[in-house]
């Protein structure tokens, strides 16, 4: 019963260009104190999971026309890994829980779509803090093809 009341009490309505007004729970609103590179002014985002997919939308709470498609990088790159610096851990107040997402860039030619592995979005679900972390000395790219060229070749051959 308590849970039910708590849930009801913390629903927030935000405006989006994709789906008009949506209901978001307070637990899904994250503060990005430094914004995102290129969007430094936007510091509050809702994480809206896309049901039955590994994707989520990161929707600006203030700016309805600003959203990003996120995906768990491990969905496509199973051996993805990086070390979060102590400074970033402190900044995000990470104790135990941490979520990692990559920003997806969708191209009109879908097979050219990429995800940003060099600058993952790291979230602390307990404190609802987020930051786009830029990895130093990393082999990862900002535009990692979701479907590699090899896979393309295979799927063309085996496609029919």
């Amino acid at each position: 019963m308590y849970k039910f009341i708590a849930k009801e009490a913390f629903i927030i309505h935000i405006q989006t260009s994709m789906w008009g007004e949506v209901e978001v729970q307070e637990k899904d609103i994250y503060q990005f104190p430094k914004g995102l590179p290129g969007f430094d002014e936007e510091t509050e985002f809702a994480l809206i999971p896309w049901e039955d997919t590994p994707f989520s939308y990161l929707q600006s709470v203030r700016e309805k026309d600003l959203s990003f498609l996120l995906v768990s990088p491990f969905t496509f790159v199973t051996d993805y890994s990086f070390e979060l610096s102590e400074v970033d851990k402190q900044e995000l107040e990470i104790a135990e829980q941490v979520s990692v997402y990559s920003l997806v860039t969708i191209h009109s030619q879908t097979n050219h779509s990429t995800m940003n592995l060099l600058a993952p979005v790291v979230l602390n679900p307990e404190k609802r803090l987020g930051k786009q972390v830029i990895l130093h000395q990393s082999i990862y790219e900002t535009r990692h093809l979701i479907w590699s060229e090899d896979e393309e070749a295979k799927s063309v051959k085996g496609g029919v």
């Binding site: 590179p37 290129g38 990003f68 997806v104 535009r143």
Partner: protein, 81 residues
């Protein structure tokens, strides 16, 4: 832009807390050490610019493109977790 000449081992102080030191000069490469408060992020300019650009390209994907993308994923067999 403020332009200052510094020798190896010399520093520049910005405000109270940021110190930039020239560590080594070799040909056209200069090694720079920066000490700054933890909350200040320091990046190579071209990396930061490439992330800004990638973010702008990612921002607010067109609904039609998202639909085509998801359609392709469904065809390839999407991993649900």
């Amino acid at each position: 832009m403020l332009v200052l000449s510094r020798k190896k081992g010399e520093s520049i102080v910005i405000q109270d807390h940021i110190e930039v030191t020239v560590l080594a000069v070799e040909g056209d490469t200069v090694r720079i050490g920066i000490s700054a408060p933890k909350h200040i992020d320091i990046f190579r300019q071209e990396i930061y610019a490439s992330i800004q650009e990638a973010n702008r390209e990612s921002a607010t994907p067109l609904a039609a493109n998202v639909e085509a993308f998801m359609e392709r994923l469904r065809n390839n067999g999407i991993k649900k977790d």
